[in-house]
């Protein structure tokens, strides 16, 4: 096992684990904004409890996101030093802007958002302002990191200068960097993914309460809102996904070919519904819808989608070493789409029940919502794997190969060591996280604040016996 492969595994592990948390903060931030806004209008303490409850869940995801996010910041230098010195000019300016504009905004106002509920100097409006700032901050951080990542997918606004180790991508147009060809589609697609994640947690928790007949008011408010919000977002995601896929075709045709494993260029290019890829014999065993890919890409079922046999220079076959691992990209892409389908089916059914006023007592649907939180997770992470593995063998598409980006001085021992450390850390972290999340959900919204206060101080007195 060489340091390059291990570094890739480590990066995938770090970023995938990290991606459990920030998208949820983004999705929940929007939900908190809505419920706190409702509270400001109604001034109903029960509405406040809904907002406070989601703030507490938010806090947990936020803390985990911050803790795991630090890893990414140093990973570029640790394992990808050549990549860092190559793209520092562009990538660094974007990351510095992310830190200064987004992270500070979040970190500054999160204190008020979490502690402000209890601080007499913080009125409801000031608190709401802080919630807005945290929400804006978390969205900005997503936007900035997506600008950076989209630049790696579809580089623009730069020129390559210098030779050897001093070779670097040098900024020529900041505007072109920030508006690189894939950035708008990818930001929309990712943020919608995050919002869907948030609303599915809301649905999952609410369905659980409803099944246990707990927190009636909470369920009334959240279940109805959640179903509609989820439906709207899933439809929006369909439109965004369609546009994103076409963007991938125009900007990264190789990745596009890998997503549907198009080996041969021919008319009526099909979409596979489910199946597997035989990379050796370059065949796809699957249930196909003929002409669908051509139709969706060109609005004409006849136009052939270019396959690997014509994607090389001047229409020659693309050499094997320039192709991404087709089978993995094909599967992750299809898993993402299938999860969306499952969510869409479930939510459409729930909308129908809501219309017939049967949703609140439909045990089976509610039961399905509880584990359904896994679907958007699978979808989000599979989507990112498609985007990142589909870009291989390039780290910066068509500019720098992944193998040229790795730190030359890295030893196998070092990376195995750090990989073991990360795995151990993450297992521990994840166990504690799930434990805490479960506790917060079990505790639920509700307990009035003074009641909680006595509960708190009583139990602490019992255990610590006053102390000396």
């Amino acid at each position: 096992m060489d340091p390059l492969f291990l570094s890739r595994v480590q990066f995938a592990l770090n970023i995938s684990f990290h991606y459990i948390f920030p998208p949820m903060s983004i999705g929940l931030a929007v939900i908190i904004l809505i419920f706190e806004g409702i509270y400001l209008k109604t001034r109903n303490p029960e509405d406040k409890q809904i907002a406070v409850f989601w703030t507490k869940i938010f806090a947990l995801f936020f803390a985990m996101g911050v803790a795991t996010g630090f890893v990414q910041l140093f990973a570029f230098g640790n394992n990808w030093s050549r990549f860092s010195s190559f793209v520092g000019d562009l990538f660094g300016t974007i990351l510095a802007a992310e830190g200064i504009f987004a992270f500070f905004l979040e970190a500054g106002f999160i204190g008020i958002m979490l502690f402000g509920w209890y601080n007499p100097r913080v009125g409801p409006k000031t608190h709401y302002l802080s919630t807005w700032m945290v929400a804006i901050g978390s969205h900005f951080s997503a936007i900035w990191i997506l600008v950076a990542n989209s630049w790696m997918q579809t580089p623009a606004g730069y020129k390559v200068a210098g030779t050897g180790i001093h070779q670097r991508a040098v900024l020529t147009s900041l505007w072109d960097v920030y508006t690189n060809p894939s950035v708008f589609d990818r930001i929309t697609h990712t943020i919608l993914g995050a919002w869907i994640l948030g609303v599915f947690l809301l649905l999952s928790v609410t369905a659980y309460y409803r099944l246990r007949k707990r927190h009636d008011y909470f369920c009334q408010r959240c279940l109805k809102f959640g179903t509609i919000w989820a439906f709207v977002l899933l439809v929006a995601q369909f439109i965004s996904a369609d546009s994103t896929a076409r963007n991938v075709y125009y900007t990264q045709p190789v990745k596009f070919a890998a997503m549907e494993a198009v080996y041969k260029t021919k008319p009526y290019t099909p979409i596979s519904v489910i199946g597997w890829v035989d990379e050796e014999n370059e065949t796809v065993h699957s249930i196909k819808v003929p002409g669908a890919l051509s139709m969706l890409t060109f609005f004409n079922p006849k136009t052939p989608v270019p396959g690997f046999d014509t994607l090389g220079p001047n229409g020659t076959p693309l050499p094997k070493e320039d192709r991404p691992p087709v089978s993995i990209v094909f599967q992750t892409y299809h898993i993402m789409v299938a999860s969306w389908g499952a969510m869409m089916g479930l939510v459409s059914w729930a909308i129908f029940l809501l219309w017939r006023k049967k949703l609140f007592n439909s045990k089976l649907t509610l039961l399905a919502f509880v584990p359904a939180i896994l679907l958007p997770y699978v979808s989000n992470i599979a989507g990112w794997w498609t985007a990142e593995i589909g870009r291989q063998p390039w780290i910066v598409y068509n500019v720098l190969r992944t193998s040229s980006g790795v730190t030359p001085s890295l030893t196998t021992g070092n990376v195995i060591g750090s990989l073991i450390m990360f795995v151990a850390c993450y297992i521990l972290l994840f166990s504690f996280f799930i434990f805490m999340l479960n506790r917060k959900i079990q505790h639920g919204p509700g307990l009035a604040e003074d009641e909680e206060d006595t509960l708190y101080s009583d139990s602490s007195k019992n255990i610590y016996n006053g102390g000396k």
Partner: protein
């Protein structure tokens, strides 16, 4: 004008480092002091003293790393590639430190809380120590070749000097942390904190003198810049004065002023570090190899324009709402159901 851009960015990063050490310094210090308090209630006050602030303080670390990547990418790449193992330890402590603060309060159970207290203490301690280790090795240089590739091993980072500086870093943060707690505590706890702060600020002065003497004897090259211009001797002199003033002010229980002077001590350390290494960002400890300077790691003018604009727009905003935040949560810590 444009030839000064790298220098201006160098100064900006220096400013970032000062902000990080002053601000995250106090919450790291509070972490190292957690076991000075035995009662759960007192420990909770310590956690809540830094509760609303620590996250924002840590963002300065992100700003430093992002600024290095943007303004001196070769240095950023070489630094973190070389310090692979120390960075991993640093990351593990950052992760567990953040989690300790969040998780500790959530369950009222003695073993649970002690577990997270240990976690918080150790991660704060290790983080401070590794910070010192970084500075120590940057000061004396590490084995990098002409391509700025690391050619040494982990053992190159460990020496009497680097361990000494690591411990010194802990004393710096202990001073910051204990003085910060003067603002936040009252009553009996306050009196205990004051005693601790007295001890810590004295400890800082003594270890500062010890480490300076050690450097002077073993690595005189670091004093080259300072002795080249006798006027610069004023900096270490001012530093000693600030440190003595800190001790006196803590004794008189003037929390605000003593925090200002201890922060000046911290800023002075960054000035001294910079004088000791300038123009190098990373010295090579190999003979006949020139290290990374702020000039040979510099990027194009246009990139500096971009990051200048980011910094000029961003820093006033950060200053604005940081001040607002510190004002909102000023005063003594009062525990309630939403506290840590």
């Amino acid at each position: 004008m444009e030839e000064y851009f790298p220098l201006i960015w160098y100064c900006f990063i220096g400013f970032g480092v000062i902000m990080y050490l002053v601000l995250d310094g106090f919450d790291l210090g509070v972490g190292c002091l957690i076991f000075t308090q035995k009662r759960d209630e007192d420990r909770r006050i310590l956690y809540n003293a830094i509760g609303p602030f620590w996250d924002g303080n840590e963002v300065w670390l992100i700003v430093i790393a992002g600024s290095l990547l943007a303004g001196f990418p070769i240095f950023y790449a070489s630094l973190f590639a070389s310090f692979y193992i120390p960075t991993m330890v640093l990351l593990a402590s950052i992760i567990f430190r953040a989690i300790s603060i969040e998780f500790r309060s959530k369950i009222v159970h003695k073993k649970w809380r002690t577990f997270w207290d240990i976690n918080f203490f150790l991660s704060s301690l290790v983080l401070s120590f590794i910070g010192g280790l970084f500075f120590a090795n940057l000061l004396i240089g590490i084995p990098i070749d002409n391509n700025f590739e690391f050619v040494g091993g982990f053992s190159d980072f460990i020496s009497i000097f680097s361990v000494g500086v690591g411990l010194f870093a802990i004393t710096v943060f202990l001073m910051q942390g204990s003085i910060f707690l003067l603002f936040k505590t009252e009553g009996e706890l306050h009196q205990r904190v004051q005693k601790i702060a007295k001890f810590c600020s004295l400890l800082f002065l003594l270890s500062y003198i010890a480490i300076s003497l050690y450097i002077y004897i073993t690595f005189p090259i670091i004093f080259d810049n300072i002795f080249s211009n006798p006027f610069l001797i004023i900096i270490p002199a001012l530093q000693v004065i600030c440190s003595i003033l800190t001790i006196i002010l803590v004794h008189k229980n003037k929390s605000g002023l003593s925090f200002i002077f201890s922060s000046l001590c911290v800023a002075g350390l960054v000035f001294l570090y910079s004088l000791g290494t300038f123009p190098y960002l990373l010295r090579s400890s190999l003979t006949d190899v020139d290290g990374i300077t702020y000039l040979n790691a510099a990027v194009e003018t246009q990139t500096y324009w971009v990051i200048f604009i980011v910094a000029v727009c961003g820093i006033p905003c950060i200053a604005g709402y940081s001040i607002w935040l510190y004002r909102l949560f000023r005063g003594k810590v009062k525990l309630h159901s939403g506290s840590y």
